[in-house]
């Protein structure tokens, strides 16, 4: 109904109003009287609360980090470095050790890098996929998505919150592994100067700094993976579908990387870049490798973020 029509109808006062449809509507006096008398309040749009985005993000983080399933996965990941550390400690007691075992046994900080190289290929990506793949599909499957959007959360806003939440979780996963490995390493192996892969030695303080850099890099890689999982999550109402699809993609990438004849495409596969964190073990730090990896992560985030947005912003929510 156009403004002109309505104004004309209203100023005419008592003229019978007709509405589309088969039966004319004669508005009852009762309903006319009940019309709210707050024209000013009704005309002005309700103000957006300045902190509303952060409030929604906090709500999202609260859901993620209070959910028993997610805490269980974090705890399981935290146990893995302990197991690796204990196993290496036992093996290190025997003669004829060498390579990686010697590196770890020689310094407490090395366990962090060893743990990353074990976990970054499958277990950490799986945990991140579960949270990111569930983010939209889980809400759709439970029906809560329709209520969030009717609230109205706003599609772009909700997607941004969901992604930021997944990024925070990705860094939480990385930090849990690093902290658990660091604590285990300090408990089981001697602390002191760190011998790098290049053969040079750095101080323990510098070693800790390099762990921080590695955490930043691996977290970024997991965040890129989260973008892929989020995009897949917008295509289904079954969260296990999005999660499984992401995990299958990771495994397929690992298989493709193992085929030497396909060497040309490996640089474009996301998991190839995950292991680049060992650049911090060079002297000086191989910033070129880190930079290339971060660039690849950025490209994945932009590409799959766009796919997620394009899909989600125009999707019919029928669940």
């Amino acid at each position: 109904m156009s403004t002109a029509d309505a104004t004309a109808g209203a100023t005419a006062g008592t003229r019978a109003r007709r509405t589309p449809g088969l039966v004319p509507v004669k508005e009852t006096l009762r309903s006319a009287e009940r019309r709210p008398r707050h024209p000013a309040e009704r005309g002005t749009p309700a103000a957006r609360s300045p902190w509303s985005f952060w409030r929604l993000l906090r709500s999202e983080l609260g859901l993620t980090f209070r959910r028993p399933r997610n805490l269980l996965m974090l705890a399981a990941l935290g146990v893995v470095p302990v197991v690796i550390g204990v196993a290496l400690r036992v093996v290190a007691g025997e003669d004829g050790m060498g390579g990686i075992i010697e590196d770890v046994a020689g310094n407490s900080l090395m366990l962090t890098f060893v743990s990353f190289s074990f976990l970054v290929l499958l277990l950490m990506p799986v945990v991140v996929s579960v949270v990111a793949g569930d983010s939209i599909a889980g809400e759709a499957g439970a029906g809560t998505l329709r209520y969030l959007l009717a609230a109205p959360a706003g599609r772009t806003r909700l997607l941004a919150v969901k992604y930021l939440n997944a990024v925070v979780f990705a860094y939480a996963v990385t930090a849990v592994v690093a902290l658990s490995a660091l604590a285990t390493g300090l408990a089981l192996f001697p602390a002191g100067d760190v011998t790098l892969l290049s053969g040079t030695t750095i101080s323990m303080g510098e070693g800790l700094l390099r762990i921080v850099i590695a955490v930043g890099y691996v977290g970024a890689g997991m965040a890129a993976l989260a973008a892929v999982a989020l995009a897949l999550s917008t295509f289904t109402e079954v969260s296990i579908g999005a999660i499984a699809a992401t995990i299958v993609l990771i495994i397929v990438c690992q298989v493709l990387r193992a085929i030497p004849e396909l060497g040309e495409i490996t640089p474009y596969l996301l998991p190839t870049r995950f292991t680049n964190f060992d650049a911090v073990l060079r002297d000086p730090v191989d910033t070129a490798a880190l930079g290339e990896g971060l660039l690849a992560f950025g490209a994945y985030i932009v590409l799959f973020g766009s796919i997620a947005w394009a899909r989600f912003s125009g999707k019919d929510i029928t669940s």
Binding site: M1, T7, A10, P20, K26, A47, S49, S59, Y147
Partner: protein, 328 residues
């Protein structure tokens, strides 16, 4: 709008927001159509006008397009054709003033009722976190769930879940409440409570748009109604105007059916019909007590006399030639 309260001339003060031609209508749709992939037309050229302040019943059998219409009004589903306006505002501005229950309750099973409401309140960009506690407590109080506020949603009964959904729709000051089958799964007591809650909310000036496949329910709580059938609007208007197309009849129960039929005919009543010990005729605005007096005066033993007003079910059957409880 200010234009509503002023007799003539341009409204003083602030100019009306663009597009707000809805001083009188909470919901307007024009030619609203939804065709899903696969070609199924769920809603077909719907022209709906929901007056502000009304309790508007949106009726139709299951599968007649009610929920799809509501999903379009809430921006969940994009129309294939046509347009609509809610509260005369752009949808993003209108939705914070709209409370909605769509296709039953949906909450996080591992959160308490209160935590669930806090979650949905956080999703509304106009809601303030500082007042959330008070508003949530009020909403729970209103639906009678205060005692179960800390209980996990998983352990709620179906009736409690339905009530929590209504509480979520009442978290802020609302100008329009959209309730999709709000009494589904409720026992008779719960149904009565929802009905009185709706009346209470409407008395505050909130427009209530309630969909239902239960005609009797709509007749009891609504001032207006629209009737859908297989995606098309069959009729809309006030409950009285919907009924006005159908005739009111008088029914006489008597052992002297022949005599009664003769008397009714002599009184000038049209369409006199008899079956067994029952005679009916069109009442045509006459006082039933006069008919009774005439019957008794002629020595007809009247065992019962009733005025039969057409129900919405009759309206529906009259308009479509079909019973209501068919799946479109």
């Amino acid at each position: 709008m200010t234009a509503v309260t002023q007799e003539a001339g341009a409204p003083l003060g602030a100019a009306p927001p663009p597009g707000d031609g809805s001083g009188e209508s909470a919901i307007v749709t024009r030619g609203l159509t939804k065709r899903f992939r696969g070609g199924q037309v769920a809603v077909d050229a719907l022209d709906l006008a929901v007056p502000r302040g009304s309790v508007f019943g949106f009726l139709g059998p299951n599968g007649s397009g009610k929920t799809t219409t509501i999903r379009m009004l809430l921006g969940l589903v994009a129309p294939t054709a046509g347009d609509y306006s809610v509260l005369g505002l752009p949808l993003a501005q209108a939705l914070p003033r709209v409370g909605a229950v769509v296709e039953g309750p949906a909450f996080y099973p591992y959160l308490s009722g209160e935590a669930n409401l806090r979650r949905f309140d956080a999703a509304d960009p106009t809601a303030r976190g500082a007042t959330a506690g008070r508003r949530i407590a009020e909403a729970l109080e209103r639906v009678g769930l205060s005692a179960a506020a800390g209980k996990r949603y998983r352990n709620y009964s179906l009736g409690m879940r339905q009530r929590l959904a209504i509480a979520a729709a009442l978290l802020g000051p609302r100008e329009l409440l959209i309730l999709d089958e709000p009494t589904n799964g409720l026992d008779p007591q719960g149904t009565r409570e929802v009905r009185s809650l709706v009346k209470e909310i409407a008395a505050d000036g909130t427009t209530v748009f309630v969909s239902s496949h239960l005609l009797a329910e709509v007749e009891q709580m609504c001032t207006h109604a629209a009737i859908m059938r297989t995606g098309r609007l069959v009729a809309q208007g006030t409950i009285a105007s919907l009924r006005s197309g159908l005739v009111v009849r008088v029914r006489v129960e008597t052992p002297d059916a022949d005599d009664a039929a003769r008397v009714l005919g002599a009184l000038g009543l049209a369409d006199v019909r008899r079956s067994g010990a029952e005679v009916t005729a069109e009442l045509d605005g006459r006082a039933p007590e006069q008919i009774n007096a005439a019957l008794v005066g002629e020595g007809v033993a009247v065992r019962g006399l009733a005025v039969i007003r057409p129900s919405l079910e009759d309206v529906f059957v009259g308009l479509t030639g079909e019973g209501f409880d068919v799946d479109g």
